[in-house]
């Protein structure tokens, strides 16, 4: 299996950061959105088919970073989650895979900043927020583990000065040589019981990256299996110890940010429907989910997401259910819109080069990436149940 180190000579990418991306340029709302849209409509639209087949668009992500699209959700840049989601929507409208990479990058920045760990919040975070360095998130498994859906896969044991972590995660995106990701491991004590969990920044160069089998699309997300064997995690890498309260605090923002992907895929699908309205409208009028229907739901849902983005750290259960509901609806809308777009375009949308068939796969990704539509519903049902006494105590 190639390790990250072995990959480096052949595959390392040097990101050209334009001078304007250095500190001190314009990250106002209007400038960020305009800059993001210009990149999305131009180079990203052109690159989207290639990204779907396997090109990892670090250069484009670097440009997004330079215009602020990867940093404005952070407290240090005004905690503008709504703007972050709008930027992700603009990118996903052109390319769902890139929208997903932005989300991976955004939440990784969120972990670093919210950690309060000086070694993660200084220059390292500045580079990350501006798209000069890159990292993703390996929280799919622990998020499902915390919801009671599956067991946690990485295990840590306490050693002097930190922890030793071992285990294998099946697929982690937006990682590669020189990159990193947020990860969570269960700390085992005597008898192999898990006492609590730690969250840490995992440097890919210290892990083995294993290629994944080919996916049906979105191949340019640099997704790997990650294996660590007795990896030392010191204080400089710790994001949270214990991890659960930290995850509880950022969970709303983590999930809400994802809405940008679904909104963008739905909007791109709407574009595809409208593109053929003049020529095919006379027959398309017999289809379900016409552009006006999709546009109305998209506008309502987007407005709701933007309202929720104003208070991303609201800890109330009702707020979290609102977020899960909005995220679930973005999945449902992206699925319906992408299917309808393909039906609207007919054979031309079915061509291998056509965006509608690509968006079908992107929309399904939106609905199955953690938290998947089924997980969201499971979690809403769980949060809606009353807690009653049990033999073990706590929520069943």
């Amino acid at each position: 299996m190639p390790s990250a180190l072995a990959l480096r000579p052949a595959d390392v990418r040097v990101v050209d950061v334009p001078p304007a991306a250095q500190d001190g340029f314009d990250w106002t709302d209007a400038a960020v959105l305009a800059g993001t849209e210009a990149i999305a409509d131009g180079p990203l639209s052109a690159a989207a088919p290639g990204i779907d087949r396997g090109t990892y668009p670090l250069d484009i992500l670097g440009r997004f970073g330079s215009v602020g699209a990867l940093g404005v959700h952070l407290d240090r840049h005004g905690a503008r989650l709504g703007l972050s989601i709008a930027a992700m929507q603009a990118a996903s409208r052109a390319c769902g895979a890139t929208g997903f990479l932005m989300w991976c990058h955004d939440v990784c920045g969120l972990y670093m900043e919210q950690s309060g760990n000086p070694s993660l919040t200084g220059a390292r975070l500045d580079d990350h927020a501006a798209g000069r360095s890159f990292g993703g998130t390996a929280l799919s498994n622990p998020m499902k583990a915390f919801a009671g859906i599956e067991p946690i896969l990485l295990r840590a044991r306490r050693v002097p000065g930190g922890y030793r972590v071992s285990g294998m995660l099946p697929w982690v995106s937006h990682i590669g040589p020189g990159q990193y990701c947020g990860a969570i491991a269960g700390v085992t004590g005597p008898g192999d019981t898990i006492s609590h969990e730690i969250m840490f920044l995992l440097a890919c160069d210290r892990a083995e990256l294993r290629p994944c089998p080919p996916f049906s699309g979105m191949e340019g997300t640099s997704t790997w299996g990650v294996r660590v064997d007795d990896l030392f995690v010191g204080q400089d890498e710790i994001i949270a110890d214990p991890a659960r309260p930290f995850i509880g605090r950022i969970r709303g923002a983590f999930i809400l940010l994802q809405c940008g992907m679904g909104l963008g895929v739905a909007e791109g699908s709407l574009d595809a429907m409208l593109a053929v309205e003049e020529t095919l409208g006379h027959v398309n009028q017999f289809l379900d989910d016409r552009p006006d229907t999709i546009a109305a739901e998209l506008a309502e849902l987007r407005a709701r997401v933007m309202r929720l983005a104003e208070t991303p750290y609201d800890g109330a259960t009702d707020y979290l259910i609102d977020v899960l509901d909005a995220r679930a609806q973005t999945s449902e809308l992206a699925l319906r819109a992408s299917q309808s777009a393909l039906l609207h375009q007919g054979a031309r949308g079915y061509l291998m080069s056509a965006a509608p068939q690509r968006r079908i796969r992107e929309a399904h990704f939106v609905a199955i990436v953690t938290p998947a539509l089924k997980h969201l519903r499971w979690e809403m049902a769980r949060l809606s149940r009353e807690t009653l006494p049990t033999a073990e105590g706590g929520r069943a």
Partner: protein, 444 residues
């Protein structure tokens, strides 16, 4: 229904509905617990017989006609393509609306969404069931699946309604999104637990599922039970638990139970009745926290610094209507879903509400008596039929404490003075007056 066939030449067995609590007296089944064998005609019941649930007399019953049976429609397992009526809530209110629609129309598609299993039971029985030795099976009158087949509706059990879009007439649930032509909100209220009470350490009895779990714990044998809150439910549960053989401490904020509702002489009679059954009343006490002791007991920390331990703790600290769903959709909400008092329409188009989740003039009304009337009004409106409309009247409040039954009529106002009309060994009668007119009266 009874298997016993009528042989007295008076025709089929009749049913009679308790207007106070909704219990149905079936002549074929009788009331063996009270000495009425199966086959006892209503007319033959002695005048001193009382409703086994709420204690009202024969005069408070009215003839009940089971609705004309409608041929059930085959229910498709797949989601219905044609939107129809969607009902949220599988309690008495939700099922009452489904029954009322089916009584008039066999075809309109109905989907009932409920967070529980949808089984039909009679909620007022929950606060008197332990003392009567009932178990969950005895309380469940019909399974949700059987009722769904009987009424030809689609039941979505264990499904939570999470989002509502008024313009698109769609309801998002944890099992998918439903389109509706009309939406009926009947999801009830939920126990309002103060933040200082750990929900994992105290039971609340507001539905059959919770009651069943509590029943399983209590079935292991007599135990010490603390009931927090001496309102109606707290008092009824305390009596019921004592009748079932448990050692009960009732913790109340006032010096007497039910201080908000009852004047002092009535509260004293209630307390005497409860103490006669062995209930220990701990008055003037507020609980500031709960904790588990190593031996499995739960300790109640009281505000005055003292402590009290019990094997089982039940909180009866009131109800509140969940507001997330309706507020998120922009529906008017004021201590409950705001409805027009005559039509029971909410502020949203084609959306109705009834039962425990609504508020009329800012006041929730959590009694069972009005539900059937409300359901009929909503069913007629949905089907476009004429109906005189709902006329709200304050229901008679009956405390199901057989040790000291109390009935309150009219509109009692907390804090307003009460006047003694009669105070004898066997009867207490009091009234509230406003401008010379009697506005509320009680009998204990």
């Amino acid at each position: 229904m009874s298997d016993l066939a009528p042989a007295d030449g008076l025709g089929p067995w009749q049913q009679f509905l308790c207007r106070a609590c909704g219990l149905i007296y079936d002549e074929g089944e009788g009331d063996p617990d009270s000495g009425l064998p199966p086959g006892t005609r209503f007319a033959d019941i002695p005048e001193d017989w009382a409703c086994p649930i709420c204690g009202v007399t024969k005069a408070d019953f009215e003839p009940y006609r089971r609705r004309a049976p409608v041929a059930p429609m085959p229910v498709s397992v797949a989601p219905q393509r044609r939107p129809g009526v969607v009902i949220v809530g599988g309690g008495i209110s939700g099922w009452s609306v489904a029954e009322a629609i089916r009584a008039e129309d066999a075809r309109v598609p109905i989907t009932l969404v409920t967070a529980c299993d949808g089984g039909l039971y009679h909620k007022p029985e929950l606060s008197v069931a332990l003392g009567r030795g009932l178990n969950p099976e005895a309380l469940r009158r019909e399974t949700g699946d059987a009722a769904a087949a009987r009424l030809g509706l689609r039941l979505m059990a264990d499904t939570v309604a999470v989002g509502l879009s008024l313009e698109r007439h769609s309801l998002r649930t944890t099992r998918g999104t439903l389109a509706y032509t009309h939406l009926v909100l009947a999801h009830g209220a939920r126990p309002a637990l103060p933040a200082c009470l750990d929900p994992a350490l105290c039971w609340r009895v507001n539905d059959l599922a919770a009651w069943s779990a509590l029943h399983a714990e209590l079935a292991r044998g007599p135990r010490t039970v603390a009931v927090i809150g001496a309102g109606m439910v707290g008092c009824e549960l305390a009596e019921d638990l004592a009748r079932a053989g448990h050692a009960v401490t009732l913790v109340g904020a006032g010096s007497l139970p039910l201080p908000d509702l009852l004047p002092e002489p009535a509260g004293r009679r209630l307390l005497t009745g409860l103490e006669g059954l062995g209930v220990r009343y701990r008055g003037n006490s507020l609980v500031s926290g709960l904790s588990r002791t190593p031996d499995g007991l739960t300790t109640l920390a009281l505000a005055d610094g003292t402590r009290l331990s019990a094997a089982t703790v039940i909180a009866a600290t009131g109800l509140a209507t969940p507001s997330r769903l309706v507020r998120g959709a922009g529906l008017a909400f004021d201590h409950g879903i705001v409805v027009d008092p005559a039509s029971l329409r909410t502020s949203g188009p084609d959306i109705f509400a009834l039962g425990d989740c609504i508020s009329l003039d800012g006041q929730p009304c959590r009694f069972i008596e009005p539900v059937a009337h409300q359901a009929a009004v909503i069913a007629h409106a949905i089907l476009g039929r004429e109906h005189a409309g709902y006329a709200h009247a304050a229901p008679v409040i009956r405390l199901k404490t057989r040790s000291a039954p109390i009935a309150l009529h009219g509109a009692p106002v907390a804090g307003a003075p009460w006047y003694v009309v009669e105070d004898s060994e066997h009867r207490l009668a009091m009234e509230q007056r406003q401008g010379g007119a009697v506005t509320a009266w009680l009998a204990a």
